[in-house]
């Protein structure tokens, strides 16, 4: 590695949002560090709360499922209760592995005693179902992952 490479790297690092860079290429080691603004410390605000009181966890709602890259997520368009099947006696609309057509009903969400049908945004295969029957779902909470 030559000096101009280092300078180029420095420039690239400058322009990036990274605050720390450590590189070892062959015999060359480079570490770069920036002092930037405060990081995402906001998570800490309720840390005491979370540690101390089980009831103080937002444990009823999981809005951070792992990010899936191969497919399209179907999000809840409104807050309500998720129903996997048209009625308690019937089978679920879809299961993991099922092929679905665009517009096909995937589930119901109940709000204000009204049932809303949630339909597939595209043709594909149900890769994952993020919620269970009768779960409370938030606005924009991921419900399904549809892959090709």
């Amino acid at each position: 590695m030559e000096l101009k490479d280092v300078k180029e790297l420095l420039k690239a690092f400058d322009e990036s949002n990274s605050s720390y860079l450590s590189v070892e290429i062959d015999n060359t080691k480079i570490k770069l560090k920036k002092y930037c603004e405060q990081g995402p410390v906001v998570e800490n605000a309720t840390r005491v709360v979370e540690q101390m009181l089980p009831a103080h966890n937002n444990d009823n709602v999981d809005n951070s499922p792992e990010i899936q890259i191969d497919g399209e997520q179907v999000l809840a368009p409104l807050v309500g209760v998720f129903y996997a099947a048209p009625s308690p006696d019937e089978d679920a609309y879809v299961q993991v592995g099922d092929s679905v057509k665009k517009g096909q009903v995937l589930c119901l969400i109940e709000a204000m005693k009204m049932m809303s049908e949630i339909t597939a945004p595209k043709d594909g295969v149900i890769k994952k179902i993020f919620v269970k029957n009768q779960d409370v779902v938030e606005f924009e909470q991921p419900l399904f992952l549809i892959g090709d």
Binding site: Q38, T46, V49, H56, N60, V61, A111, F139
Partner: protein
């Protein structure tokens, strides 16, 4: 007591209500829009649930989403805070239908007080002074002249169909009445093809005085003294204080009685505020009743020692008031400054930003209610009020000095606020003397802004 309360609001008032719930061992459920995911009320509540996108109409004003949230989170009550759906009787009725206790007045009381003409009649019947006027259209001039003489000058001529000042005339002397009446009548006819005219008394530069009311479901109604909210800019309150130093005990008693009568006339329950204008001769007139908790409720909490949010919750749970009128003691003086993310130098333009350094005032007699925390990114979607600083001290002068001290300690790097402007305002001789009314800011804005400019030109230390 309630098991779990949904807070149908955001910001510092949501935090305020959650705090009351925590202290009453009641679980709280925060609702939030996608823009408020990292908001303080979400972090402090027992549970939280996203109800819609950033736009308030789709989230905090979305009745179905909020009631659904209350149902699926198994809440037995709902606190609306202020703004948003807090004075919406349709929402109250929907809550009732869903079996969720709305923490506030009944829908009927809300409706009765929401219609200004109906409320005016109700108050007149209850013997509560309203701004004197013709109480209906006045067709001919001779009748008008008689009414004007009766209610006393100055008077205000108004057109039924009027708007934006059209067909409106201020009359200071009897000899101008005929000319101005004809003018106004012609104008409103030209503009609206209608010349029905009203008359009412013109209250010149009044004080805005409001009385805090608590009313239970068992017929007990008390008032907790007044707040002077005359420091307003474009009808937005900036600074509120209690007591009003220009109200003596007799007047307080009289106005308090009128406020209680107003609440009783409307069969009002829960916390509410009766607003009056007070003229220079200490005549007061009912303007309206706010059917919710108010931004400035903390000022009353400071001087009375009564927690208004907890009282609201207890009243909604059908408990009788434990405090009688004679037990209400106003102790010392309290003042609130609203800290808005507004730049006074740029015509109070709102701004947003990420809070890179926050220092919250502390020490004796200082209470801060805020939605801010270090690292928080303020939202462009909602109100610009970021914090309320409420101070309490034995005397008004000590209160002013304590507030100045608190404002000096406040640092909110990342956003510009009106904190420095308030600090300077608290040095204005007329404010210090308590010599102000609703036109104070309008009259002194440029003067105070010029001090601010001078102060910011003072050379800073080399850093």
């Amino acid at each position: 007591m309630f098991k779990r309360i949904l807070i149908a609001n955001r910001g510092e008032i949501a935090v305020r209500i959650i705090r009351a719930c925590m202290e009453m061992n009641i679980e709280s459920v925060a609702v939030y829009s996608t823009a408020d995911k990292d908001s303080l009320h979400v972090k402090l509540a027992t549970k939280s649930i996203c109800i819609g996108p950033a736009r308030a109409a789709d989230s905090y004003l979305n009745m179905d989403a909020i009631i659904t949230a209350a149902q699926v989170m198994e809440c037995d009550a709902l606190h609306p805070g202020f703004g948003f759906l807090s004075e919406n009787s349709t929402f109250v009725r929907k809550c009732n239908e869903a079996g969720i206790t709305f923490i506030g007045p009944t829908a009927d009381a809300m409706d009765a007080l929401g219609n200004k003409a109906a409320a005016r009649k109700m108050m007149m019947k209850a013997g509560v002074p309203v701004v004197p006027g013709s109480d209906g259209p006045v067709a001919d001039y001779s009748k008008l002249e008689k009414i004007a003489k009766k209610i006393g000058y100055p008077v205000l001529i108004k057109a039924s169909a009027g708007g934006g000042g059209r067909g409106m005339r201020r009359v200071y002397k009897p000899e101008d009445l005929k000319k101005l009446f004809d003018e106004a009548k012609a104008e409103t006819m030209a503009c609206f093809n209608d010349d029905e005219m009203y008359l009412e008394k013109l209250i010149v530069n009044p004080r805005h005085i409001e009385f805090q009311i608590l009313a239970d479901e068992h017929g007990n109604v008390i008032h907790l003294g007044e707040r002077d909210c005359s420091i307003q800019r474009k009808n937005q309150k900036l600074i509120e204080e209690s007591p009003c130093m220009y109200i003596n005990d007799d007047l307080r008693k009289s106005m308090g009685k009128a406020a209680v009568a107003a609440a009783k006339a409307a069969n009002y329950t829960n916390a509410g505020t009766v607003e009056f204008v007070l003229d220079e001769k200490n005549h007061y007139y009912f303007i309206e009743m706010n059917t919710r908790i108010q931004v400035e409720h903390g000022v009353t909490e400071a001087v009375t020692g009564i927690d208004l949010i907890k009282q609201q919750i207890r009243i909604a749970f059908h408990e009788p008031l434990k405090t009688r009128q004679k037990d209400v003691n106003i102790k010392g003086h309290a003042m609130e400054c609203r800290i808005n993310a507004e730049d006074p130098a740029k015509n109070f333009m709102a701004n947003t930003g990420k809070i890179t350094f926050l220092n919250v005032p502390g020490g004796p007699g200082v209470r801060v209610d805020t939605l801010l925390y270090n690292g928080y990114e303020t939202s462009p979607f909602y109100d610009s009020m970021m914090a309320k600083i409420i101070v309490h001290a034995p005397t008004r002068l000590e209160t002013i000095r304590r507030m100045r001290r608190a404002l000096l300690e406040l640092v909110t790097d990342g956003i510009k606020t009106n904190g420095d402007f308030d600090y300077l305002l608290l040095h204005h001789p007329d404010f210090i003397k308590g010599n102000y009314n609703v036109s104070f800011i309008e009259e002194h804005l440029d003067e105070i802004l010029s001090w601010d400019k001078a102060a910011s030109e003072y050379p800073e230390d080399n850093e």
